[in-house]
């Protein structure tokens, strides 16, 4: 379990992480979402003790990560696939990591096999593609068979087969009772991977809930109407308290009353409707809207 409480990090006058509080529970894949520059990577570094917080605390299974003398058996992390030395072979990189945590060398072969790098293990990392480096980073995170795993944008550079494999791996790790925390700036990636979400914007918490709750809270619906006399219909709907925006081809986008209510209003005023479609915003749109709000909200504040 990862517990973050009032976590704050300032770099000079920039506040990268602003009084962030959330909990990441075991048994789930938790997505960590936010636009670029929202403070996701900084938060992960604070959790892993690479950066010291300006205020607040971050603990992993009850104590700060840096309180440990060895990390791999407690937490596996992939922060950046580039955090390796290009001159070493993948196998040597993992052997050194394993040895530092007293993990048997045989485990290196296991994780290499698991991520599908057995054949490339003897080659120098310099020659690896981004996708191969991601796999190597995931192998490193799995070395210590840890109960808590953190991944920062792990899907970058993976081919479609790799993306499917990673999603399956994350779900399996969560099903085994582990805490899996995965950051991304793309809602579409998380939609099929995570069952819980922590959403941040400009370093602040926007949402900490299940994927379904997030969809229900954030996703609004509107109704697209095509009518013979759109202008009259718009006047009627506006009078009834709806928000009406003109859509393409003379259609109207109506927010407020649902499709049934719009049909009733049209009948009362003897207006002919050609079509009536309910549209639910996608998670992607919900995410964009929520984070856009947070940016807008913060932009008015004195820096």
């Amino acid at each position: 379990m990862i517990e973050v409480t009032e976590l704050t990090k300032r770099f000079g006058r920039t506040t990268a992480v602003d009084r962030l509080t959330f909990t990441v529970r075991p048994g789930h894949v938790t997505g960590f979402l936010g636009p670029n520059g929202a403070g996701k990577s900084t938060t992960l570094r604070l959790i892993l003790g690479l950066n010291d917080p300006t205020g607040g605390t971050a603990t992993v299974d009850g104590r700060p990560f840096r309180a440990r003398s060895r990390g791999l058996r407690d937490v596996g992390a992939l922060l950046d696939a580039g955090d390796v030395h290009g001159g070493r072979s993948g196998a040597a990189h993992l052997r050194a990591l394993a040895r530092s945590n007293a993990i048997p060398a045989a485990r290196v072969e296991e994780v290499l096999h698991e991520v599908g790098l057995t054949k490339a293990a003897g080659r120098r990392i310099r020659g690896y593609s981004l996708g191969m480096r991601q796999r190597l980073g995931i192998a490193g995170a799995l070395l210590g068979d840890p109960p808590v795993l953190l991944f920062d944008e792990p899907l970058n550079g993976l081919d479609p087969e790799g993306v499917l494999w990673v999603r399956g791996l994350f779900r399996r790790l969560a099903a085994e009772g582990r805490t899996v925390f995965v950051s991304s700036h793309m809602m579409a990636e998380m939609e099929h991977t995570a069952d819980r979400l922590v959403v941040v914007g400009r370093g602040r918490l926007i949402a900490d809930e299940s994927l379904t709750e997030f969809a229900a809270r954030a996703g609004h619906t509107d109704v697209t109407v095509r009518a013979a006399e759109p202008d009259r219909l718009a006047a009627v709907l506006t009078a009834a308290g709806a928000t009406v925006r003109p859509g393409p081809d003379g259609a109207l986008a109506v927010t407020g009353p649902d499709a049934t209510r719009i049909g009733e209003l049209a009948l009362e005023h003897r207006l002919l409707l050609n079509s009536l479609t309910t549209r639910t915003a996608s998670l992607e749109e919900a995410f964009m809207e929520l984070t856009a709000d947070s940016v807008e909200y913060l932009a008015g504040e004195p820096r």
Binding site: L50, R68, H85
Partner: protein, 284 residues
């Protein structure tokens, strides 16, 4: 260690229970890291050959130009010693060892590997200590090999001239020890500068500047200047490689042997302390 209440992960693999945390594991990991870079063996091997060859050339010159019986014994003692580890050899060792030391830590920062390392081992002091220990052992081995082989080979060249020495000679032992220890001292100085600067070119250039050019700014005419000069590793090596000062130009404030050994020790210890302190404090 308390058992976390909410984690239910059951290890599915044979990695075994967490053993006690041992420095030995970190030393082994750093050893793997150092030798899994091909450049390590190449740089150390080729430079060692160059150093030994340069010293042999010097001994050969003496052999070719020395008439047996010439010169007084103390002068020829110094000549025989000087041939087995020349100033050129010392300069090469200084630059190679300093750069290897700087790269041992800059290599982690420039590549970003340091973050992977510190997530695996959050105890930063232990990581840097282990790195410094492995560097010291390897560079001491390099120093002993280059100085030792040079000495034995060069004295063999000079054997016919009757000025060749054996290691049993007290002056010879100090001379070889000073040359052998020069490598790890310079490597640790580079290590500290690497930890401070974290930039490949910047760290290597400043290591060369500090070790090689900084001593040129000082002389032995004034007390303060002599003190600073004697605090430089290069000057310490120069003094330790002199049997005595009877045949050198008299100066106002000459260096002492004990002071020069102290300079070696101070650079080594201070360098490790600086590297440990900066890595421990900084954000990564």
């Amino acid at each position: 260690m308390t058992t976390p209440t909410l984690t239910t992960a059951t290890p599915s693999t044979g990695i075994g229970a967490a053993p006690r945390t041992r420095l030995r594991d970190l030393l082994a990991a750093e050893w793997i890291k150092l030798w899994s870079l091909r450049s390590t063996a190449w740089v150390l091997g080729l430079s060692a050959l160059f150093v030994i060859a340069a010293n042999l050339k010097s001994a050969r010159y003496t052999y070719d130009h020395y008439t047996v019986g010439e010169g007084d014994p103390t002068t020829m003692l110094q000549v025989a010693l000087g041939d087995s580890f020349t100033v050129i050899a010392a300069d090469v060792v200084m630059i190679v060892a300093g750069s290897v030391g700087a790269l041992a830590v800059v290599g982690e920062y420039a590549s970003g590997l340091i973050r992977t390392t510190l997530v695996a081992v959050p105890d930063r002091r232990a990581v840097i200590t282990a790195k410094a220990c492995v560097l010291t052992v390897v560079m001491l081995g390099y120093g002993v090999l280059t100085a030792g082989v040079s000495f034995v080979a060069c004295q063999a060249v000079l054997a016919d001239t009757h000025i060749g020495l054996s290691l049993a000679h007290p002056a010879a032992l100090r001379f070889v020890a000073a040359a052998a220890l020069f490598a790890p001292v310079c490597a640790l100085a580079g290590f500290a500068l690497g930890a401070l600067i974290r930039h490949t070119a910047g760290a290597v250039v400043s290591t060369v500047l500090v070790l090689f050019f900084l001593p040129a700014f000082f002389n032995e005419r004034y007390r303060w200047s002599a003190d600073l000069l004697h605090a430089m590793p290069l000057q310490a090596w120069r003094r330790l490689s002199q049997v005595d000062l009877t045949h050198t130009l008299p100066v106002a404030h000459p260096a002492t042997v004990a002071g020069s050994w102290a300079t070696y020790a101070a650079w080594a210890l201070a360098s490790v302390a600086v590297a440990v302190a900066v890595v421990h404090r900084r954000d990564h």
